[in-house]
Symmetry: C2
Subunit: 240 residues, 2 copies
Amino acid sequence: MSAIRGARERARIEVTAAIKDEARKQLAAEGAAKLSLRAVARELGMVSSALYRYFPSRDELLTALIIDAYDSVGETAERAHRTAAAENAAPARPGTHLARWVAVACAVRDWALAHPHEYALIYGSPVPGYTAPQATIGPASRVGLVFIAIAEDAHREEGIGLPPLTAELRPEAERIAADLAPGLPPAVAAPLVAAWSQLFGLLSFEIFGQFNRVVEAREAFFRQAVTELARTVGLLDRRG
Amino acid sequence: MSAIRGARERARIEVTAAIKDEARKQLAAEGAAKLSLRAVARELGMVSSALYRYFPSRDELLTALIIDAYDSVGETAERAHRTAAAENAAPARPGTHLARWVAVACAVRDWALAHPHEYALIYGSPVPGYTAPQATIGPASRVGLVFIAIAEDAHREEGIGLPPLTAELRPEAERIAADLAPGLPPAVAAPLVAAWSQLFGLLSFEIFGQFNRVVEAREAFFRQAVTELARTVGLLDRRG
DNA sequence: CCAATTACGAGAGCAGTGCTCTTGCTTTTG
DNA sequence: CAAAAGCAAGAGCACTGCTCTCGTAATTGG
């Protein structure tokens, strides 16, 4: 789209990247609350006011890191989906889609364990008085889209066995399906959104320490829970 | 245990409470990150250094607020449980325990919606470099204990229909059951812990704005999801 | 009942923060 | 080649958590 025009623009891109890298380093080391513009500038050998040429405020820097984090976990999920799809490409074998579901969930979990502070940044408490800017909603939905894709594939190739919706929830489920998964029947779309949020409940409790002294065999526990979650959206296991 | 001995001790208790109240007010208004010791002191007409006679650091003040928040939501859950138990005291009617489960979950949700910053304090990202002190783990488990109690009642009075554990998860499930719910079979205890964390996944996504532009009919959606969650721990609905 | 101890409030001060503004210098542009 | 725009640096403001000292008040032991 836009080629680099001169030394100035090239330098700007590099400095911007260096700031984000250093900020990410501090984020990983100490958490978002202790990320300091002055410390970033200090580490980069510049004075703090110079940094404002690149990010108009601390919040804007954080927003950039949030977008990067969403993209990072989103790309992880997409890669896991591709890999799992390549490994068992046989279309009609039952359990295929459930296996992909679990693989993607585990990949997201691995990412979260490897980047706890970035996870906290996007799935923990929103930062003070902060409302997510428009630019974040695209990257933020990438993980969800992967699960939607799996459910759509499963529905198309294997069919999905799910009880009909209650009358109370039908209009909402139809709206959800129309808005973000037109290829999915409403009876699948609603449980899918619920499962999506519940997956991050499992992750948050593990990452944020709520499972301390409660759950020990974390991975086995997670795989089991996530498999059960897949059943609530109608994915069929190997027993059909 | 300890009676108030003099004017000094009485004053200390009152000032401590006043500090916590003002801090809670600021927490509700601006969130934990913007809670400032100096602002609290200012509002109370004292100088900031005087506040350190009552709380040795900002983190200690936050810890006190965390404990209060856990107690607040815990008491809410317990009260909802008592009320629901009183309303349908018939022991053997199917659906009784599921109704209690949903009632408690909705009460917790109402509390979270009414106290979003306190919710964020205890179920959001842990504050910077902060590890939960011993004093929090008691209050922190009150909500969970309510759900355990419901499951135990259901298991004792109605029985619970759940598939057997996978071999992989059996030892972990047995440990969990032995540690925190000795009255419950392991096949129930493990899904119960999963359901507990998934419940807070639903809540966090709603409170933290992840459902914006996704879920509109929040309460209906929540009730449905939480009912489904109850089924995963074996609670039977009215249809038996 | 009085002296010693202890708890407390106030103030000054330190190191750190986000952010603004001005001042020169360099690169880019018309 | 001159004007305009981009940039780094420094000083400075208002704020933060926290420490230390110093007088005063309440509490306690003899």
